[in-house]
């Protein structure tokens, strides 16, 4: 039977092998079996005579035998030409171009921050972008007609709500939802009715942070901020705290870091001051705790706001904020 003939072919080859064969001997032997008029092709020719279904089965076997023989001879020949293979192709040709996409740089930095905070026990919370005046202002100790409302130019919707001007709008929502103790961050989109230029946009990203527990102090705030900044910048950073006014904290601070580019000697990035304003923060105002149903006599906490967009720009040296929402693929491709 033809099937057996194919199987026997392998045995025949084995029988033909002698000791001390030269390279030419191997070539001759290969030709005998795999040459155009070799033993294998002879058997292949007889496949035609079989019925369709038999052809399928035997054909499969024939292919397997052919493959085995080819491998066998290839191996034997390579003993005589060990480096041959490496010399035969141009290693400098470009590698295969895999199509790998790109996450937006804001997404990448946001995820990095979420991981840092998660490792410190912070919940990642989210809130509405069309927000009520209550959560955006009143609950944060910014009553109507207070000059502090001018600190943020606000978009109003026709039905009387606002586009949140800061992620701080989620502070009281989070207090109501989780109670105490609380550690949470809120990354997200915020809106300001401001003219656009290279460093201002009407839309940008912030990350709000909140920690409420027993006896939280200013020295606690400084320590957590330093820890966080070490996580972000992957190095020890020098910080300084100075007074800053935000109605939802008391006392309120601006936290500056020593410029990482000039190490505090003064450069164009820090406007020669040696310091970069990075993080407004403070102890949560008792009125805000009360709005969140928390007793300020029993609990205290701190809040801070990170300019996520600014951080992205600092990280990658992006000088024009408008590139971030321009969605030019030549820009996005770089991240």
């Amino acid at each position: 039977m033809l099937k057996d003939d194919f199987k026997n072919l392998l045995k025949q080859v084995q029988a033909d092998i002698k000791s001390n064969m030269t390279k030419d001997d191997w070539l001759a032997l290969e030709k005998k079996y795999l040459g155009r008029k070799g033993e294998l092709n002879k058997l292949m020719d007889s496949l035609k005579t079989l019925a369709v279904e038999e052809k399928r089965e035997v054909g499969k076997l024939a292919n397997a035998v052919k493959l085995e023989l080819e491998n066998f001879f290839h191996k034997q020949k390579s003993i005589f030409n060990p480096v041959d293979e490496n010399k035969t192709f141009d290693l400098t040709l470009p590698g295969e171009k895999y199509n790998i996409g790109h996450l937006h740089p804001i997404t990448q930095i946001q995820e990095e921050l979420e991981e840092i905070f998660a490792s410190m026990g912070f919940i990642v919370e989210d809130g509405p972008e069309v927000e009520s005046e209550y959560y955006n202002f009143d609950a944060l100790n910014i009553p109507a007609h207070h000059p502090a409302r001018d600190m943020q130019d606000t978009f109003f919707t026709a039905e009387g709500n606002v586009l949140r001007t800061h992620t701080s709008s989620v502070q009281v929502r989070a207090m109501e939802k989780y109670g105490t103790p609380l550690r949470c961050i809120v990354p997200g989109k915020v809106f300001r009715n401001e003219a656009t230029d290279a460093s201002h946009d009407h839309t940008f990203y912030q990350l709000e942070g909140l920690m409420i527990d027993k006896n939280i102090s200013i020295t606690n705030l400084i320590a957590v901020m330093k820890e966080l900044l070490r996580g972000i910048f992957k190095q020890e950073v020098t910080v300084r705290l100075r007074p800053g006014f935000f109605p939802f904290v008391e006392p309120g601070f601006e936290l500056d870091i020593k410029c990482l580019i000039c190490r505090g000697n003064g450069c164009s990035v820090c406007k020669q001051s040696g310091w970069l304003e990075l993080l407004p923060c403070g102890l949560i105002h008792p009125n805000v705790l009360r709005a969140g149903g928390i007793d300020p006599a029993e609990w205290s906490g701190f809040a801070f706001g990170l300019g996520l967009t600014r951080l992205v720009m600092m990280r990658y040296g992006i000088e024009d904020i408008r590139l971030l929402f321009g969605n030019d693929l030549r820009f996005l491709k770089q991240f």
Partner: protein, 809 residues
């Protein structure tokens, strides 16, 4: 706000060795942010007095002269000048190369260089007063050069020395002053510096007022909640004219133009004390009577800036017995203002309700220096101090004026604020053990009265801090901390209970899906603005259900998006000429005005906010058929990656952007998304030349169907058998039906994978040949070829009966 260091020094003796930078730094670290420090001397760098030795006409220009000028130390230089008042021997201000001047007093400062003007060399410039920022001090006609001959200065003398421009100006960030009404003048800033450096603070010189006239202005406050205190005084024998140089220079140094001596004095005292003042012409006050009242609808006033304002009934005005004569606390009226002929005046110093003033300033868009100060809430006591100060200064510059009785209407006085707190609280919030003495010393330096009794504090803040800024124990923490110095605080990590943070189902799947789409499927993530506009109504969107922005920034951004797709299509249009065949996606909120979310509006507000779910959407560009299946594949990948069960893509559905090739994504029979080809006319709208497919999913709805946890399927014990088939079907047969019939025909089929579709004349033009691979296996035994062939027969038979499929030979 600009602050003059020389002015501050009138109130406090700062240590001698301090540099302006150090003072700025100290204020930044303890009080308010100093944004910039400018030395006046720098503005006059490279500027000297010159003497004109010889004047020649310019050979190539009729209007120019060649002035040979002595600039000191025997140097005589040639300068080209177009001034009309030049003469030999005149002393002039020469700006040498390197100096910064303002051409003709307009535009930005430019740096001078040696140059050639119409063929003649010019070494610097002979300046007019407005070219070197002295236009206010020395008003001049056009083309008139500043004549310094009266100074008798030696040529070569630095210009700054002649005028005593030795001041340093601090620029303070107004935002950091929002909560500190006491700091809106030099007095307040000086008080802070005195506290920071622990130096004595010199009170304002108020002198003694000698009454010389019996004239008195009648004052009636009809709206006491809007005006708590009003002081008015009549002064006669006033001569209105230019201010003395010291006054002009002071105002100039903080950026205020000089107007006339009376108005300048009101401004001076405002910059000094933070209390805005106003001066009226007595003759223009009908009935010599001041009435503080709300405006009546229909009343009008022409303000000092010469604009007519129609008043509403909420606006507080200063009126006489006939009509409004000033917008209270915001701006005076033109008619009652001071002019050259005024001889009798009324000074006003008042305390207005901050909210009233703020609303008026906003309503009429008049953010004046006065309104900005009043809206912060100035204590009523300051009105009296400012009034006494301006009378003292007026007497100083015009000793002959006759001052009448001050009419002081002040009915509702504040009770002093008393804050009670204890050492424990202060130490806990600061985070270290500060001593009671340190606390007490710091507070006393800031003007607080402090009583301590067995670690309990009773603290009375000074009246200028007690209205809003310092009212509760937390405010005391801030005062102590900032003067103690934040640089002395040692970081201390909080001790808290260890908890593992929970993550919402949305948050925990967001990054997972973004990574799948970017790193798995090769798409670009974009972030678009959330805004859209009515131009998109042409696409078919119903704008009545969109959120409308009342004060939009431009006509481009009037509404909030309710789909991510228009933004993505705009991205395609912007990028398609730079890159071929790409896919984009975005995850973000969309907004729908016709439905409510679960977000409560909170507080006293009833109801919920509008529906604003996170959507996930994407587009592919390229060849028609292929892009559709890329989009479909993306949606399938998402569902599979989230391990959703019971989902399917059903033909049909609708989207304003779609043509008829559209599928709807259903999970547990809920519609959560769609995949479609973008219709040609919509592509044209965006000016896109390629084919585009799109998909959009309500991501918040989708993640709700994720079930936590699933079990793996055990690996098959027996090998599978692979079998390829090519079957010819009529053109209109759907793959979905072929697949379904294969599975119903055989229980042993595990997988069906399509690998080729052939259409061509070899099989007849109304036919298509579908080639696919079948995978068979039996959980209980190794399948024999014969058994597989039996299954294949069953399948072929079924395909033939149901779909007229015939094995391709």
């Amino acid at each position: 706000m600009l602050v003059s260091l020389n002015w501050l020094k009138e109130f406090v003796d700062l240590p001698d060795n301090l540099t302006p930078n150090e003072i700025g730094q100290a204020l930044t670290m303890s009080t308010v942010e100093v944004e910039g420090i400018k030395s006046q001397a720098e503005l006059f760098a490279q500027m000297v007095v010159g003497r004109i030795v010889e004047l020649k006409s310019h050979p190539n220009a009729d209007n120019l002269k060649i002035a040979l000028t002595d600039i000191g130390q025997g140097n005589i230089v040639q300068i080209i000048c177009g001034g009309t008042n030049l003469f030999v021997g005149m002393l002039v201000a020469v700006a040498l190369p390197g100096a910064k001047v303002r051409w003709h007093g307009q535009g930005d400062l430019v740096s001078l260089a040696e140059t050639t003007i119409r063929g003649e060399k010019s070494f610097g410039m002979i300046c007019a007063s407005n070219e070197i920022g002295l236009g206010d001090l020395f008003p001049a006609a056009e083309k008139e050069i500043l004549n310094l001959s009266s100074t008798d200065a030696k040529p070569g003398t630095a210009l700054k020395d002649i005028f005593g421009f030795d001041d340093v100006i601090l620029d303070i960030d107004n935002k950091s002053l929002t909560n500190r009404p006491d700091l809106w003048g030099h007095m307040g800033i000086a008080r802070e510096l005195a506290a920071i450096y622990n130096r004595p603070y010199k009170e304002l010189d108020l002198g003694k007022i000698e009454k010389k006239s019996e004239q008195k202005i009648k004052v009636k406050i009809k709206s006491p909640t809007d005006c708590r205190r009003y002081l008015g005084v009549v002064i006669t024998g006033v001569e209105v004219g230019p201010s003395p140089i010291w006054l002009k220079k002071r105002l100039e140094s903080v950026g205020q133009k000089s107007i006339n001596n009376i108005v300048d004095l009101t401004n001076y005292v405002m910059f000094e004390t933070g209390q805005p003042l106003h001066a009226f012409d007595l003759k223009k006050i009908s009935g010599h009577q001041i009435i503080v009242r709300k405006a009546v609808i229909g009343e009008k006033i022409v303000t000092l800036d010469n604009s007519e304002i129609r008043l509403d009934e909420n606006t507080l005005v200063i009126a006489d017995n006939k009509k409004p004569i000033a917008l209270a606390g915001v701006m005076g009226g033109q008619e009652s203002g001071i002019n050259q002929n005024t001889t009798e005046i009324v000074f006003e110093s008042a305390c207005f309700n901050p909210i009233t003033i703020r609303q008026a300033a906003r309503n009429y868009n008049l953010r004046t220096d006065s309104a900005v100060r009043f809206e912060k809430g100035i204590e009523p006591e300051r009105a009296e101090i400012a009034m006494r100060r301006i009378l003292f200064l007026l007497k100083k510059i015009q000793p002959n004026v006759r001052i009448g009785d001050i009419n002081d209407v002040y009915k509702y006085k504040n009770k002093p604020v008393e804050i009670k707190t204890d050492l424990n609280f202060i130490q806990n919030r600061l985070g270290f053990n500060i001593t009671p003495e340190d606390i007490s010393n710091i507070l006393k330096r800031l003007g607080f009265v402090v009583k301590i009794k067995s670690k309990k504090f009773t603290i009375i803040p000074p009246v200028y801090r007690s209205l809003a800024d310092v009212t509760k124990p937390e405010d005391i923490i801030e005062e102590v901390a900032r003067i103690y110095g934040y640089d002395k605080f040692k970081p201390d990590l909080p001790v808290v209970k260890l908890t593992s943070p929970q993550k919402s189902i949305l948050k925990s799947n967001e990054n997972k899906i973004k990574k799948l789409l970017a790193y798995g499927l090769g798409l670009y993530e974009v972030i678009n603005y959330s805004f859209t506009n009515e131009k998109y109504a042409n696409l078919g969107y119903d704008f009545t259900t969109m959120v409308n922005i009342k004060n939009s920034i431009s006509s481009e951004f009037t509404h909030l998006r309710k789909s991510l797709l228009p933004g993505l299509l705009a991205n395609v249009a912007a990028n398609e000429h730079k890159q071929k065949d790409f896919g984009l996606f975005e995850l973000g909120r969309v907004f729908m005005a016709d439905r409510l979310s679960e977000f409560r509006r909170g507080g006293n507000l009833t109801g919920e906010l509008i529906w604003q779910p996170y959507y996930l959407a994407g587009v592919f560009t390229g060849k028609k058929e292929q892009v559709f299946f890329q989009a479909k594949g993306a949606v399938e990948a998402i569902c599979n990656h989230l391990k959703l069960s019971n989902w399917e893509l059903v033909p049909g559905g609708d989207d304003v952007l779609a043509n008829k090739n559209i599928l709807t994504l259903q999970v547990n029979n809920n519609i959560v998304g769609k995949v479609f080809c973008v219709a040609d006319d919509k592509l044209k709208f965006f000016d896109i030349s390629q084919f585009v497919s799109a998909w959009e999913i309500d991501f918040e709805a989708l993640v709700k169907f994720i079930t936590t946890g699933y079990n793996y399927s055990p690996l098959p014990k027996y090998p599978a058998v692979i079998y390829d088939l090519a079957v010819v079907f009529p053109q209109d047969v759907k793959w979905q039906d072929i697949e379904k019939n294969i599975f119903t025909a055989s229980d042993l089929v595990r997988e069906v994978n399509l690998f080729d579709i052939y259409v061509g004349d070899k099989i007849g033009l109304d036919k298509k040949s579908i080639a696919f691979t079948l995978t068979f296996s039996d959980p209980n035994k190794t399948l024999q070829m014969k058994e597989v062939e039996k299954e294949v027969d069953k399948i072929l038979k079924k395909l033939n009966q149901q779909l007229q499929g015939v094995l391709r030979s």
